[in-house]
């Protein structure tokens, strides 16, 4: 008795192999969609905006005339925002990650906190904007200040840094932890002198990636009322400010076609900053990540 009908199999085989080959190239094509879009976006933007990338563009404030519009105010504002957001976000998220990984008992509350953090990661940024508007701008009367925006941004990027830090702390092998305890170190000494130094590259990478998300985030800033046109730079955390994505957004909406090029120039600057931050993150990840 013949179990396999060889004729039948070989009749279908060429079709099956052809389909396999065709779909392989379709999958490849789909993979390249992202690449093509990215290239188009970059080329289109650079071709459009490079003419406006003059030294004046970096040293002048925004203007109603495209030829004299610049991003000085927005650039300084973004630097302020990042300088205030970073420490708040770092303290909150690394503290949370340390507690969850090193101290937290296994109980319902801790479980709830973990689920809650992963849910927070999925909350749209506009909703964080509404929280910031009600809590920081109105209730705490911070107005549309650097501090109000920084607090909103910190809460928004918190889940990202917490998850990155948790992974990094978890990857520190328990052997070196036990060695430290065995040598007589206390738990806090073990954390500050053994675990954190080993986990810090991963944590920093997470922080930089989270901040690079915050730097391009526009919606929460619009909602807490950051002005689009501002002809001064902040001198303290309670001053109002402008930011790069806000500036880009306000230029996008202008009907004058020349402003399209100004917008593109602003985008080039924003993307360049993001590119720098990501390069630093990748460099740190590759250079300092230790394998135990």
């Amino acid at each position: 008795m013949e179990l396999i009908n060889k004729q039948e199999v070989s009749k279908k085989l060429s079709g099956r192999l052809l389909l396999n080959k065709v779909l392989k190239y379709i999958f490849l094509l789909f993979t390249l969609v992202g690449l093509v879009v990215l290239a188009t976006l970059l080329i289109d933007t650079v071709l459009d905006g490079w003419r406006y990338l003059t030294p004046d563009f970096f040293t002048s404030y925004s203007s109603s005339r495209p030829e004299s519009a610049g991003i000085y105010g927005a650039l300084i504002g973004t630097l302020w925002l990042m300088a205030v957001t970073a420490p708040i976000a770092i303290i909150l998220s690394v503290g949370t990650a340390l507690y969850l990984e090193e101290y937290a008992p296994k109980n319902r509350l801790v479980n709830f906190i973990k689920v809650n953090i992963s849910n927070l990661a999925g909350v749209p940024s506009v909703v964080f904007g509404l929280l910031g508007l009600t809590l920081f701008v109105r209730l705490m009367e911070l107005d549309s200040s650097v501090l109000a925006a920084a607090l909103t941004m910190s809460l928004m990027i918190l889940p990202v840094i917490v998850v990155a830090s948790q992974e990094s702390i978890r990857s520190v092998p328990s052997t070196i932890r036990e060695a430290s305890i065995g040598m007589g170190a206390t738990k806090w000494q073990t954390i500050t002198r053994v675990i954190l130094p080993a986990a810090v590259p991963g944590i920093i990478t997470g922080i930089i990636l989270a901040l690079s998300r915050a730097i391009g985030e526009t919606a929460p800033l619009i909602i807490i009322g950051i002005p689009t046109i501002l002809l001064f730079t902040p001198t303290g955390v309670l001053d109002t400010f402008s930011a790069l994505p806000m500036q880009i957004y306000s230029w996008v909406k202008l009907p004058n076609p020349e402003f399209q090029s100004v917008t593109a120039a602003g985008i080039i600057v924003l993307l360049f900053i993001l590119f720098l931050m990501n390069s630093v993150a990748i460099y740190i990840r590759n250079k300092y990540s230790k394998r135990f």
Binding site: R16, N20, K24, I26, F27, L29, F30, T31, G34, L38, T40, L41, D44, T45, I91, L92, G95, T96, Y99, L100, A104, I113, V115, N116, N119, G122, V123, P124, V127, G129, L130, L131, L133, L155, L158, V162, T186, K187, W188, L209, S212, R213, I215, G216, T218, A219, I223, I224, P245, I248, Y249, V252, K253, Q260, T263, I267, L270, L271, L274, N278
Partner: protein
């Protein structure tokens, strides 16, 4: 040798109360910090709920849920959230139709066909794509994709659903691709070898073995991407227009829930007006939608997880 008496040193150090105090305080301080994330959630819920309730004392919830017209800025305002939901839905459906096949195809290629070298080149590019600010995508949709579509198809309006929908799709492709790829890579090689050994082609192996085995991760990546598309703000506020309507025409101007929130917050409403409070009612609706999606995604990845 008395200066190296370790026993004495230890007992001296033990006596120092500051270190014992630190050991006791640190967990408490860290717990307080951890609770900030819980307070954030409570803050979001309380904020949205309390202002939404104020809104519903002024506008009937029945009108909010059943009317199909939304005109917050007219002299006779209409508050039918359906018009905004329809806008969000149109964008999301276009984005998903575009992104799911492309994202999954990319995931299959990267996980099952690509060599290690190709994977190492493509994956960072997808990461870059995921990191581009949405305001930049919005500019791209308005100044590149829309004119392109209008060149092909003259009925497309300057503001439409198609162009921002496609660009939102591009935005969520990396998410679907990388999460699905993770799910497929987690399928053990023994199953691949089993399928190939039985004489299936690579394609048959993908569809009959790998995809069913990785289905929980794939579905949850899609649901998460849908949630991202629903909450996406800048692309739609720049390229989709600001005319809420409940039609299914994807070539004309529309407004999404997020687009409305941005329009109001950009300065069209003053504190205390109906329009101001409608901000929170819309925000609440948006929050509920995305929350459901996130819970479904978590449930999916738990429910259908196959352990090998």
């Amino acid at each position: 040798m008395s200066e190296y008496n370790i026993q004495k040193m230890i007992s001296e150090k033990k006596g120092r109360r500051s270190s014992a105090f630190i050991e006791k305080m640190v967990p408490i301080i860290l717990l307080l910090i951890t609770l900030v994330s819980v307070l954030t959630t409570i803050g979001i819920l309380v904020t949205l709920l309390s202002e939404t309730i104020v809104f519903f004392t002024r506008v009937s919830p029945i009108e909010f849920l059943t009317s199909t017209e939304w005109s917050a800025f007219s002299s006779d305002p209409q508050w039918g959230i359906f018009a905004l939901i329809m806008g969000t839905l149109k964008i999301t459906v276009i984005a998903v139709i575009f992104a799911v096949p492309v994202g999954l195809g990319a995931a299959i290629y990267l996980s099952e066909y690509a060599s290690d070298r190709v994977r190492r080149i493509i994956k960072p590019i997808l990461e870059i794509l995921a990191g581009i600010p949405t305001v930049v995508y919005g500019f791209f949709a308005l100044t590149f994709v829309t004119p392109l579509l209008r060149g092909i198809w003259s009925e497309v309006n300057l503001f439409n659903a198609l162009s921002p929908g496609l660009v939102v799709g591009v935005m969520i492709i990396p998410m679907i691709a990388s999460l699905s790829e993770d799910a497929m890579s987690a399928v053990p090689n023994t199953m691949r070898e089993g399928a190939l050994g039985l004489g299936s082609t690579r394609l048959e192996m993908v569809f009959k073995v790998i995809l069913p085995a990785a289905i929980s991760g794939i579905l949850s990546s899609i649901v998460l991407a849908v949630s991202r598309a629903i909450g996406e703000t800048m692309i739609v506020s720049i390229a989709a227009g600001s005319t809420p309507n409940a039609s299914i025409n994807i070539l004309e101007s529309l407004q999404t829930m997020t687009g409305f929130i941005v329009q109001v917050a950009s300065g069209d409403a003053t504190y205390g007006t109906d329009t101001y409070f409608s901000l929170y009612a819309v925000g609440m609706t948006l929050f509920v939608f995305t929350l459901i999606m996130n819970v479904v995604a978590q449930w999916l990845s738990r429910k259908f997880r196959e352990e090998y």
